[in-house]
């Protein structure tokens, strides 16, 4: 994956900094809560959402089960429509293919449509090394590129920036990349969008080569689909002479009809719209080929593996390949909201990143090994996922892989001890009685280890005078009786903190 993410710290360390950044927290909270409520309304408009979701899940599972067949069909259709199909086993090969295609045009710059696949492979850096400048044209990607920053959200890569910060980046940095920001630029979103329009228009009009991804590829027709909002996608897909699309192999769908499912739930899940402003669909060079003068004269499709076939081999993990990158899971995730996207150490942040990145990259690095644990398993992601990826299930599955790696000896020993104790209820009962009997000696905080982590922000629980099972033995011996007092078979033995007055009898 991209060199930009090499040597990232483990998730908990990166997240710690984020939780202490008040401005970041405010930006993320505002944005995610805004879209969360809107999404719920957009989804609520369709009373057959569950049926669409089930159909989407099954279409994807069928596609993945016969992925070789559909990719070959796609290749044949794209080729017969005048396109050229390339296959890239990994990021390095994909980057090499794209760089050579650009070099063959004699151009030294490309315009880019926002694309997760090219983020994943670090294409911009690779092109820079080959002497080619890649201009990001999506507004949020532009903000990230101008700010020499990293994306922090799948849909809105600059979600960590508020309007004031964006204004400052435009004012300070636009001139270095081309047309400067207008004089007196305000932080009104409409003015910021206008500044981006002016800055990028000259690039669109002179560009000869564009690089895109695709949201969907239709095997039966060879059609590629790009879903967008701003029109930068249309500019890149329509104006240049050469179009190079880098697309993960899992983005194929079997039939044209399948779009009736995915185009209903992608925009609603993503931007909470009934439909995104612009969708472009093209099949090779079109019915008239290069001669009809509509769109590029050369089209290259680069099919990218880069870890996807490894993911496909994992019975539990392969469901992650259903992902359509809508980012609904990010917007509802309480961990993402507080940790921010950068803590995930890859272009794929949030819950989907926590299950996708460790499968694409493995769990060798510190950050990748920490990602499956970057979740409270609350399940909000699974609930909103339009293709029903059971993200908590995959997280736990990946935790098992990480726990089997070296470096977990102490944790494994503790877990083994716990299982032993739970397997020996007599010993458990004795331990509980001892703990209760010595409770006056227990501190409220502890300095080290898991207990130390607990007491950073919380007091340790006060242990009861006796465990439940001791009470039960006594209760069992009592004759069945009329209503009894609840829960206070002994008088309080420790002073109460000054809480609500009514709660004291």
């Amino acid at each position: 994956m991209s060199s930009a993410y090499l040597g990232m710290p483990a998730f908990p360390q990166a997240a710690k900094a984020a939780t202490q950044d008040a401005r970041l927290r405010a930006n993320l909270r505002r944005a995610t809560h805004t879209i969360r409520d809107k999404r719920a309304r957009a989804v609520g408009e369709l009373d057959d959402w569950a049926a669409l979701r089930e159909a989407g899940r099954r279409i994807k599972d069928q596609t993945l089960r016969h992925l070789d067949v559909y990719l070959l069909q796609l290749e044949e259709r794209v080729t017969s429509a005048g396109g050229t199909v390339h296959w890239a086993a990994d990021a390095a090969e994909a980057n090499r293919i794209v760089a050579e295609l650009v070099r063959a045009t004699g151009e030294s710059e490309v315009v880019k449509v926002k694309s997760m696949a090219t983020q994943e492979i670090g294409l911009n850096e690779a092109l820079a090394e080959a002497g080619v400048t890649a201009y990001e044209t999506d507004l949020a990607e532009l903000i990230v590129q101008l700010g020499d920053d990293l994306p922090s959200h799948i849909l809105v890569p600059a979600i960590h920036r508020n309007r004031g910060e964006i204004r400052d980046i435009f004012v300070e940095r636009m001139a270095r990349w081309g047309r400067p920001a207008p004089e007196g630029l305000t932080d009104r979103p409409a003015d910021l969008a206008e500044a981006a329009r002016l800055h990028l228009r000259e690039k669109f009009l002179r560009a000869k080569v564009a690089v895109s991804g695709a949201n969907f590829m239709i095997a039966e027709t060879g059609t590629l689909v790009v879903v967008e909002s701003e029109g930068n996608g249309r500019m890149c897909l329509t104006l240049p002479q050469t179009l190079i699309s880098v697309v993960g192999i899992e983005k194929v769908l079997p039939t044209w009809q399948d779009l009736e499912v995915f185009l209903q739930f992608l925009p609603r899940s993503s931007t909470a719209e009934r439909m995104n402003p612009y969708t472009t669909m093209w099949t090779g060079l079109g019915p008239g080929g290069a001669a009809d003068g509509d769109g590029p004269r050369a089209f290259h499709l680069v099919l990218l593996d880069n870890g996807r076939t490894d993911t496909l081999a994992d019975e539990i993990g392969r469901q992650v390949l259903r992902c359509i990158r809508c980012s609904a899971c990010l917007n509802v995730c309480p961990v993402y909201e507080r940790a921010g996207g950068h803590a995930y150490g890859s272009p794929y942040p949030g819950p989907i990143g926590a299950v996708l990145t460790p499968q694409l990259r493995g769990t060798g690095s510190e950050v990748d090994a920490s990602l499956p644990f970057a979740s409270s398993l609350c399940g909000a992601c699974y609930e909103v996922c339009p293709v029903a990826i059971d993200i908590p299930e995959v997280l736990v599955h990946l935790r098992e892989q990480v726990a089997a790696q070296p470096g977990h000896a102490a944790e494994r020993a503790a877990m083994r001890a716990a299982t032993w104790l739970f397997e020996h209820p007599a010993a458990l009962a004795a331990a509980e009685r001892t703990a209760s009997a010595t409770r006056a000696l227990h501190p409220r905080t502890l300095p080290l280890g898991p207990a130390g982590a607990w007491t950073q922000a919380r007091d340790l629980p006060r242990l009861p005078a006796e465990p439940f099972r001791t009470w039960w033995k006594r209760h069992r011996a009592e004759p069945p009786a009329a209503p009894q007092s609840t829960g206070t078979s002994q008088p309080p033995t420790t002073p109460q903190p000054p809480t609500t007055p009514e709660s004291t009898p």
Binding site: T34, E273, M275, Y278
Partner: protein, 212 residues
């Protein structure tokens, strides 16, 4: 071994023991509104277009040239791109507006179109539930660049023949081999604080004429 063969081999190996998944069941709705109430479907289209900041107008065939002339005038347009196959009568009353025709012999460049104020087109069809216009580069629509570079797009929908209720109704009527552009309101972005604002690279003003 080529990467193509390597990837295909890896896919087949990965799936060697995978069970056949459940078959696809399409028991979702064909449409979310009664499709035989055409007037209601057209009203829904109008409402959803307007909801995403398209300006919606309704007129009859004889009123169309006058309406188009007024829309161009209201926008202050001095030039209008004209796709091949656009009925000549549509722009008959647009006095004082330069016609800039696109044709196969002399295709307009993007640079030329950047200096054109408006474009008037028809469409292939419109989808009511999502407020979407679909253009397929056919007669009266032209190459994709025409509706992209000018800042003002006027799109005429023949409501009797071109309006469908839903996506499942729209897809079978479209030819996937043609270049397709789906338009749902003017250019917009949610990239600043996930709040939608209209107007970035595509036409910032979208007038839709629903022709009775």
């Amino acid at each position: 071994m080529t990467s193509r063969d390597a990837i295909l081999d890896r896919i087949r190996a990965a799936l060697a023991a995978a069970p056949e998944p459940e078959p696809v069941v399409r028991d979702y709705r064909v449409a979310h509104v009664p499709v035989d109430d055409h007037a209601a479907v057209v009203d829904l289209l109008a409402g959803n277009l307007a909801d995403y900041r398209a300006h919606v107008h309704r007129c009859t065939e004889p009123e169309l040239p006058g309406l188009l002339a007024r829309l161009l005038a209201d926008h202050g347009s001095r030039s209008v791109a004209v796709p091949p196959g656009l009925p000549a009568s549509w722009l008959a009353q647009a006095d004082g507006v330069e016609r800039v025709p696109d044709d196969a012999e002399a295709p307009l460049t993007a640079q030329r179109l950047d200096g054109v104020d408006s474009v008037v087109t028809g469409c292939r069809l419109a989808i009511a539930e999502t407020g979407t216009l679909v253009l397929d580069a056919g007669p009266g629509q032209g190459r994709r660049v025409l509706t992209l570079v000018p800042d003002h797009h006027v799109c005429v929908v023949d409501t009797a023949r071109q309006v469908v209720a839903s996506l499942p109704q729209a897809l079978p009527r479209l030819d996937p081999t043609r270049p397709l552009t789906w338009i749902s309101g003017p250019s917009a972005t949610s990239d600043i604080e996930l709040d939608r604002v209209e107007g970035v690279h595509g036409p910032r003003t979208l007038d839709v004429v629903l022709l009775a």
